[in-house]
């Protein structure tokens, strides 16, 4: 017996199921795309316009807790006022200049025992244990007559800590413990002697030979900057890369659509070989532009297929070098062919799918009314294919911005260069993540702009589209 009550609760359970289950099902995909699409995109934007190392704060005391005096931009020339050693907070960086400090036990000039920390510069190590750790030593003599002949013993490994004793020169000491301290420098901008001096750890500074001058190696505080975008635009490869990328698009995409349309019509002709043709034409879909580049390299290289054929036909007398810095036109031509070879298939598949959606009756009616084949293609198929063509255009244009390996395979990557290749060069060759990201963001922006352009161009169409 089903009371209305249980029926409602059952249907409630059902609604709950239908409400929540689909979201649970798509959740992994959403999380994944957020992690590996949205987040890197955000991170890339940040890298392109945000300099992590822009500013170095200098402090009024040589420790990280002290208050900041001011921030000095990366690369500023510095005058060094003083130096000191400080216990390092965090890990010891490779760039850090370090001073050892020893915890010693010895007798002071009056003969009473004293133990505390002494700067490593004041101790000559005489004995080490098996692991190389210092065990004992003597206090170094001071050479300058003006300075205090006695050496300070500090309460903690830090020359600003309280002095708890003195040691005579050459006094023997026992070394109990070693502390490696990072050197801090008190600095001020070199060109502004009036500016307040402040302390900064050595790892962020570059100190010159004389020990009196230096510069800010990198900062710790970030700052928004257009410097990376500026460097990208000023880069000598930027102009050529933009020009070549656009030139390739202009050369490839129209030819590709004509070729893809011919392929699609051949497949659509429903001959006995249609499936075979479809398979053959779609072979390159899974192939990388690197493979296509190698294929066309084998054709265009000095002793390659093209030269062999031309030679065999008696058109040329010896191999002609197509892929050299002097024959940029030929390199571009080879790239265009390789891209036509590789990426036409995907346009073809989209167009074939579109053609299959056109009812046969429509075409037959046109034929009955005496429309020739070209008239049918021009006035019926192409207008009906418009949505497919738009999708293919967007996909193709965005793919065109990613052309990369084919350019390296056919042109080496210097003579002819494209945007994606510059991004790779900045990242790998020049180790410049920020400028590389600027390129990546630039490619993203161009892609978005072109997709937006195509979508807008479509929007005005639906009313005029024959259906």
């Amino acid at each position: 017996m089903t009371t209305p009550d249980t029926a409602t609760s059952a249907s409630k359970a059902r609604t709950w199921r239908y409400r929540v289950v689909p979201y649970l099902l798509i959740a992994p995909a959403i999380v994944y795309l957020a992690m590996f699409f949205a987040y890197p995109m955000y991170e890339g934007l940040v890298l392109a316009v945000y300099d992590d190392d822009a500013l170095l704060p200098i402090r009024d005391e040589p420790n990280l807790g002290a208050s900041e005096v001011s921030k000095i931009p990366q690369g500023t020339a510095l005058a060094i006022v003083d130096r000191s050693s400080q216990e390092v907070v965090g890990d010891g960086s490779a760039d850090a200049l370090t001073d050892p400090w020893y915890e010693v036990t010895a007798e002071d000039p009056s003969g009473s025992p004293v133990s505390g920390w002494v700067s490593g510069a004041r101790i000559r190590v005489r004995d080490e244990d098996a692991t190389g750790a210092p065990v004992s030593g003597t206090v170094r003599p001071r050479l300058a007559a003006t300075s205090d002949p006695l050496t300070d013993v500090h309460e903690s490994p830090n020359d600003r800590s309280e002095v708890i004793g003195k040691l005579e020169q050459r006094a023997p000491v026992e070394i109990n413990e070693v502390a490696l301290l990072e050197v801090w420098f008190q600095v001020r901008p070199a060109d502004d002697p009036a500016a307040a001096a402040g302390w900064a750890p050595s790892r962020f500074l570059q100190v010159f030979e004389d020990g009196e001058r230096g510069r800010v190696h990198r900062g710790t505080d970030g700052e928004f900057t257009t410097a990376f975008i500026g460097r990208m635009i000023d880069d000598r490869f930027f102009g050529p890369a933009v020009r070549t990328t656009l030139l390739l698009m202009v050369l490839i995409i129209p030819a590709q659509f004509v070729l893809a349309m011919v392929m699609a019509l051949v497949v659509h002709a429903r001959t006995r070989l249609s499936t075979g043709f479809l398979y053959a034409f779609s072979l390159p879909i899974g192939m990388s532009d690197l493979a296509a580049g190698i294929l066309f390299f084998s054709i265009f290289t000095g002793n390659g297929l093209l030269n062999s054929i031309l030679d065999g036909l008696g058109i040329i007398d010896g191999p002609y070098a197509f892929l050299t810095a002097d024959t940029v036109g030929w390199i571009i031509f080879a790239i265009v062919l390789a891209e036509l070879w590789r990426a036409t298939s995907i346009v073809m598949v989209i167009l074939v799918a579109g053609l299959q959606a056109i009812p046969d009756e429509t075409l037959e009616a046109a034929e009955l009314f005496g429309a020739s084949y070209f008239q049918r293609v021009r006035h019926i198929m192409l207008p009906l294919l418009r949505p497919s063509i738009q999708v293919a255009l967007i996909l193709r244009t965005i793919l065109a911005f990613q052309v990369f390996a084919v350019v390296i395979a056919l042109g080496g990557g210097d003579v002819v260069t494209v945007l994606a290749n510059e991004s790779y060069r900045q990242y790998f060759g020049l180790r410049n993540n920020n400028v590389a990201s600027a390129y990546a963001v630039f490619i993203l922006m161009l892609s978005m702009a072109s997709a937006f352009f195509y979508l807008r161009a479509v929007r005005s169409e639906p009313e005029t589209r024959p259906t």
């Binding site: 979201y23 795309l33 699409f37 879909i285 690197l290 598949v349 080496g412």
Partner: protein
């Protein structure tokens, strides 16, 4: 009903009903003349299709075949000029052996397999539930999700590998096959989701319902009715992910240094390796996609043919 069911097959418009009866009878000489003309035209069209199709097939196949011949001959033949095709040159495994014995090649082949394998598994695992949800449930945001997936697929995700590399360096997983596979999964996922959803959509919901009518639990009807029907399609989408990862160059070159995959290795040795190495490398890059095309040819349009919205 929040379930999406196939639209009911309404009685199609009565085709041809109500045509004026002034058409000439079918056996009249005018009509027969017209038929003859159309048939002749169609015959000519067929011939053109065969010829054009053959030329275009050669355009696709000749470069592949040429590189394959270069990959299976002696190194002297690769260096020689003028060049020739396989039946006319010495067949030998010399080039292939040279390639496989070169430093790092076997390792990179293995690396490529590991990365592509992980990509296959991950992208399939994530895309099955998402594809099922799109195909079977009507929920708020479904179109938005579909649109987002389509948009992501069209995006140059590859260039995101630079910020990803910086991130990987920061958290210490740079130059690892696993992190590269994570990137490749992100590349393959949008297409996988769309393919899997279209595969699920091609199995009528009525079949699942019929199972339930006969007392199967939702899981049972899924397991014993839907899974056998969708398995080939899902295998195709998995193969697609594999091949995509196998061929991916840019992210692989950015995200690895010592653990290079095959495309990254070939790309990096382009400038200073003999032609024989490149051609044999090209062979290994192309073989999986040729095999793959053969297996997935039925699903070609599921993968790239979806145009609507």
């Amino acid at each position: 009903m929040s379930l999406k069911t196939a639209p009911e097959d309404s009685a199609g418009p009565a085709a041809g009903a109500g045509l004026p009866t002034v058409l000439p009878p079918l056996d009249s000489p005018e009509v027969q003349k017209m038929h003859r003309r159309m048939r002749r035209r169609r015959g000519r069209g067929r011939l053109t299709a065969y010829i054009t199709g053959t030329i275009l097939t050669l355009w696709i196949a000749v470069p592949i075949f040429f590189v394959f011949s270069m990959a299976f001959t002696t190194q002297e033949t690769v260096r020689s000029y003028p060049k020739n095709f396989l039946p006319f040159i010495a067949f030998s495994t010399d080039t292939m052996r040279f390639f496989l014995e070169s430093d790092g090649v076997l390792q990179s082949l293995w690396n490529s397999m590991v990365v592509a394998g992980i990509t296959l598994v991950l992208s399939t695992l994530i895309s099955i539930p998402a594809g099922y949800a799109i195909a079977r449930y009507l929920f708020r945001g479904r179109d938005l999700f579909r649109l987002a997936v389509l948009a992501v697929r069209a995006f140059p995700i590859v260039v995101l590998s630079i910020p990803l590399a910086v991130l990987y360096l920061r958290i210490g997983v740079f130059d690892s096959l696993y992190s590269l596979a994570l990137m490749h999964t992100a590349l393959a996922l949008p297409t996988s989701i769309l393919v899997v959803s279209s595969v699920f959509a091609s199995v009528p919901y009525e079949l699942e319902e019929a199972g339930k009518v006969f007392g199967a639990t939702p899981f049972q009807s899924f397991r014993y009715i839907v899974v056998p029907l969708v398995l080939p399609g899902i295998a195709a989408s998995g193969l697609f992910s594999f091949v995509l990862s196998w061929n991916e160059v840019f992210a692989a070159a950015i995200l690895t240094i010592n653990n290079r995959t095959l495309p990254a290795l070939v790309l990096n040795s382009l400038a200073n390796s003999p032609d024989a190495f490149q051609f044999a490398g090209g062979f290994f890059l192309m073989v999986p996609s040729i095999v793959f095309m053969f297996f997935i040819r039925r699903y070609l349009f599921n993968m790239w043919g979806q145009v609507t919205k």
